[in-house]
C-alpha cells in the first residue's frame, strides 16, 4: 500500500518536521525545537496538531439510526442532544475493544471520529453491524486540526468568532473563508481545546492563520507525552481487542442507563465484569527513581512474581518525572502498593498511583 500524506504535508515540511510512518500516513513526529519544547508550549500556551489521518465517518440519519447505533455502542444515543459529543468504544461480543472513538450528533445524522489505524476496518464492521441500511462515508476531503492549550480559545476566537461559547464535548458549524467548518470543544492532551473539521483546500491557510496568532505546531511525539500525562489511552497500546473497557478502567464512559437496559455489543461481559470484578486492571505507575519503563516492561510483586505489564511509558515533561500505565493483577492494584519493574535485566521499585498524572484543565461551561 502506498503511504498517504495529509493535506498539511507541505506545511509540515516547510516548518522542518521530521516525519515517521504512522498508520500508513507520513506524519510529523516533531519539529526542530523538539518534543519537550512542543509539550510545554501546549501546556503553557497553545499547540496545533494535524490529526487528519484520523477517520471522519458520517452516517446519515433516518429515524432508526440512534436505535440501531445503541445496539452497538454502550451510550445513550436516543437522548443525546444535537451537537453533543460522547466518548465510546466499538467492541466485539466479548467486550474486546476494536477501537475507541468520539460520536457527535449532527443535524443530518452522526459523525464518528475513528483512530487512523482502525478506520477502514471500523467502517466495514459498522456497515455490517448496521446491515448496510444507512448511507455511510469516510470523508477524505476533510482535514482535522486540533488546537489545544490554555490560549486555544483566545487564539481560535480571533480567527473564528463565536467558538468561545462552545461547551466541553459540544460542537457546532462555523464559517471560515466562506466555507462551513465543524468545531467541537474537545481534544486528547488534558488541556482545553478544539478540534476543527475543515475542507482540505482551506486547511493550510487556516493553520497558517493560527501560527500567526502564536500557535505552535506539535508532532506525534509530544501528542504522546501529553496524552500519557493526562492518563488517556492510546489504542493498540493501552487498549485493544484483548482488553475490555472495565479492565481498562473506562467504566465511566458506559452509560448507567444502558447498563440497566443492556442490548449493546459486549453487554453480558461488561455486566459480569462490573459485578464480579476483573482479573487485571489498568493503573498508573510511577518508578521511584528516574528509570523509564517502556511498553512490554514486566511488573513484579515483592515475591518476585510477574503480576503485569507496562503498556505505555515515558518521561512526563510537565510532571518532570518518569510515568507509565499498564495492566496489573487486580489483587495488587491498590494505590501505593509496592511493585518492581524489570528494565534491562534489573528490577527497579515503583508505585501504583492515581491517574491522571497531570491535572486536567477542561473548561466545562461557556464563559
Amino acid at each position: 500500500m502506498e503511504i498517504k500524506k495529509t493535506a498539511l504535508y507541505s506545511l509540515h515540511q516547510k516548518h522542518g518536521a521530521k516525519f515517521v510512518p504512522f498508520a500508513n500516513y507520513e506524519m510529523p513526529i516533531q519539529y526542530p525545537t523538539g518534543i519537550i519544547a512542543e509539550h510545554k508550549a501546549t501546556r503553557e500556551k497553545v499547540g496545533i496538531f494535524d490529526v487528519s489521518h484520523m477517520g471522519q465517518l458520517f452516517i446519515k440519519d433516518d429515524n432508526q439510526l440512534a436505535e440501531d447505533l445503541e445496539k452497538i455502542f454502550p451510550i445513550d444515543l436516543k437522548n443525546i442532544l444535537l451537537n453533543q459529543s460522547k466518548y465510546s468504544f466499538l467492541m466485539n461480543e466479548n467486550a474486546g475493544i476494536h477501537d475507541d472513538l468520539i460520536i457527535t450528533k449532527i443535524k443530518d445524522g452522526f459523525n464518528i471520529v475513528l483512530n487512523a489505524v482502525c478506520k477502514n476496518s471500523d467502517f466495514e464492521l459498522l456497515k455490517k453491524l448496521l446491515n448496510n441500511k444507512y448511507e455511510m462515508r469516510l470523508n477524505d476531503n476533510l482535514s482535522l486540526v486540533a488546537i489545544q492549550g490554555p490560549k486555544a480559545c483566545e487564539i481560535l476566537e480571533k480567527i473564528i468568532s463565536g467558538i468561545s461559547d462552545l461547551k466541553f464535548m459540544n460542537g457546532n458549524y462555523f464559517s471560515y473563508s466562506s466555507k462551513n467548518v465543524y468545531i467541537t470543544r474537545s481534544g486528547y492532551t488534558g488541556e482545553d481545546g478544539f478540534e476543527i473539521s475543515i475542507k482540505n483546500e482551506i486547511v493550510e491557510i487556516f493553520v497558517e492563520a493560527l501560527l500567526k496568532e502564536g500557535g505552535k505546531l506539535i508532532g506525534l511525539g509530544a501528542r504522546d507525552t501529553l496524552r500519557l500525562e493526562a492518563g488517556l489511552c492510546l489504542y493498540g497500546h493501552d487498549i485493544d481487542i484483548k482488553t475490555t473497557p472495565v479492565e481498562a478502567n473506562l467504566k465511566w464512559a458506559i452509560s448507567k442507563k444502558r447498563l440497566i437496559t443492556g442490548r449493546f455489543l459486549g453487554y453480558e461481559k461488561i455486566n459480569s465484569q462490573i459485578e464480579s470484578g476483573t482479573k487485571k486492571v489498568r493503573v498508573g505507575i510511577t518508578p521511584v527513581n528516574k528509570i523509564i519503563a517502556r511498553e512490554k516492561t514486566k511488573i513484579y510483586n515483592e515475591e518476585n512474581k510477574i503480576i503485569g505489564e507496562i503498556t505505555s511509558g515515558t518521561y512526563g515533561p510537565s510532571v518532570q518525572k518518569s510515568i507509565a500505565m499498564g495492566y496489573i493483577d487486580s489483587k495488587f492494584s491498590n494505590i501505593d502498593i509496592k511493585i518492581f519493574l524489570e528494565v534491562r535485566g534489573k528490577k527497579y521499585p515503583a508505585k501504583i498511583c492515581k491517574l491522571p498524572f497531570y491535572k486536567k484543565n477542561y473548561v466545562k461551561g461557556a464563559k
Partner: protein
C-alpha cells in the same frame, strides 16, 4: 591533548595520556531528540571495545551507548545523570559520559578523525 576521534556508533573520544574521555556526538543527540535519562557504567568496572557502556533515553525510545575502546572506568559524569538535558545542550564538551584508563592504544587506529566522521554521519542520515 591529542585530536578527537569518532566511532561509527556516534561516540567521540579524547585522549590525555592513558586516560580517554568519551561522550556522544552532536549528530547523535540530533538523531535522538530530547534526552531525559542516562545510565553510565560504574566506576571501577571494565568495558570492552564496541560493548554496551550505558544507555540514553529520549522521550521516544532507549538507545545503547557503546565504548569505542576497552578499559577500566575511572570516572563517570554524575552531572548528566542529574540533568540529562545537558547532553543536548553541550554533548561534545561539558556533557562527557565517562573516563577510562585505556588498555590498548592500538584500538584507536580504527576510529575516524573529524573530517571522516562528518562525511560518515552525513551519509548515515536516513
Amino acid at each position: 591533548m591529542s585530536e578527537v576521534k569518532f566511532s561509527k556508533e556516534h561516540e567521540w573520544i579524547k585522549m590525555d595520556g592513558d586516560t580517554a574521555t568519551i561522550g556522544i556526538t552532536q549528530h547523535a543527540t540530533e538523531m535522538l531528540g530530547d534526552i531525559v535519562f542516562v545510565e553510565l557504567p560504574d566506576k571501577g568496572s571494565s568495558v570492552v571495545k564496541d560493548g554496551i557502556a550505558g544507555v540514553v533515553e529520549s522521550t521516544k525510545a532507549a538507545s545503547d551507548v557503546y565504548t569505542p575502546v576497552s578499559g577500566e572506568i575511572i570516572e563517570n559524569n554524575q552531572s548528566i545523570v542529574d540533568d540529562p538535558a545537558k547532553i543536548n545542550a553541550d554533548p561534545e564538551n561539558e556533557a562527557w559520559f565517562f573516563k577510562l584508563k585505556i588498555k590498548n592504544k592500538s584500538e584507536l587506529d580504527s576510529l575516524m578523525n573529524k573530517d571522516e566522521y562528518e562525511k560518515f554521519s552525513k551519509e548515515s542520515v536516513n
